[in-house]
Symmetry: C2
Subunit: 191 residues, 2 copies
């Protein structure tokens, strides 16, 4: 019998982040996550393939959103600005998740296996952005360079965003992305 559980995915994610933070990622089991969330292991596995996916499904959703926004960007927009606009557009989806993002970053940074996975995900994100640009007619190496530049901008902005507290009146992720892109443009212009 399958019972509908309100916001099971969100509850599982919260429980997992709590437990990873408290006792470490390696020491946490799926059974414990399900228990903390007041759900069954079976429910866990309806939402996530394994305990690692809890930390990475968001990155996949983000990548899909970015690719869609790039595809829909106005014709003639320079590739770097199509990437910048897509990053700003998806930033809104993350804005409410700053505390979760901060917890997640701390867990990933503390676990070599997860750091490796994060690098793979970022490489995959860069490849996906380059692919989306190519489908707009952007040739290589411009597509690859704009994609890599976009990932660098996103990493810098995300890092700043998670290091601000949500109620400090800090900048939004979208603002930080715009600012980091402006800084990249200044840096590459040799300023």
């Amino acid at each position: 019998m399958t019972r509908w559980e309100p916001n099971a995915r969100g509850r599982l994610e919260l429980a997992a982040l709590e437990l990873y933070g408290e006792r470490g990622y390696d020491q946490t089991t799926v059974a414990e996550i399900a228990k903390r969330a007041g759900l069954t292991e079976r429910t866990f596995f309806r939402h996530f393939a394994d305990k690692r996916e809890v930390l990475f499904y968001g990155a996949r959703m983000l990548q899909d959103s970015l690719v869609r926004v790039i595809a829909d960007a106005p014709t003639g927009l320079p590739p770097i600005d199509a990437v910048g606009a897509s990053l700003e557009a998806v930033a809104g989806q993350l804005e409410e998740r700053r505390d979760l993002a901060r917890q997640r970053q701390a867990i990933v940074a503390a676990t070599p296996e997860l750091l490796e996975r994060e690098l793979i995900k970022l490489a995959s994100l860069s490849a996906a952005l380059a692919g989306a640009l190519r489908r707009r007619g952007v040739t290589d190496p411009a597509a690859i360079l704009a994609a890599e530049a976009g990932v660098a901008v996103f990493r810098v902005a995300f890092q700043r965003w998670t290091s601000q507290s949500a109620d400090s009146g800090g900048q939004t992720l979208a603002q930080l992305i715009r600012q980091s892109l402006a800084e990249l443009k200044a840096v590459t212009a040799g300023r």
Copy 2:
């Protein structure tokens, strides 16, 4: 008894790349590499910690060279140009190694474990370049962005360089680095 073996490191590297290419990285043992090179396992382990290091010691040497060149760059050189100049300066060290580099790329691309290692090495390279820039007084995020941009430029140039054959009269790695940096500057300028 330790016998001096002329160019043991180079012979071991050649033998390893041959074997990785012929039978796959996973299927190759250190004993086989040493045998193919006409050397002992003991000699292998005097030069390399394990069979993976054969593929990555060059990256480490490259990183150290880049950091030194950035440290010695003229004061006042914009960070992106300090990085660009360092990449061009070390390109000369690689110029004779194009065939080896191509063999290596094919092996890394075919082996997920090695691809992950490559991503880790590139992240470490970016962090090292950013550190070298900070020691020149460059602040963040400019240091991080210039370093990430430099790694992207190097990857694009290296990829092009290894896909040209050595005797096709193609461009040198240094030329391709200069060209890729110019392309990055054009991309981030929105052209």
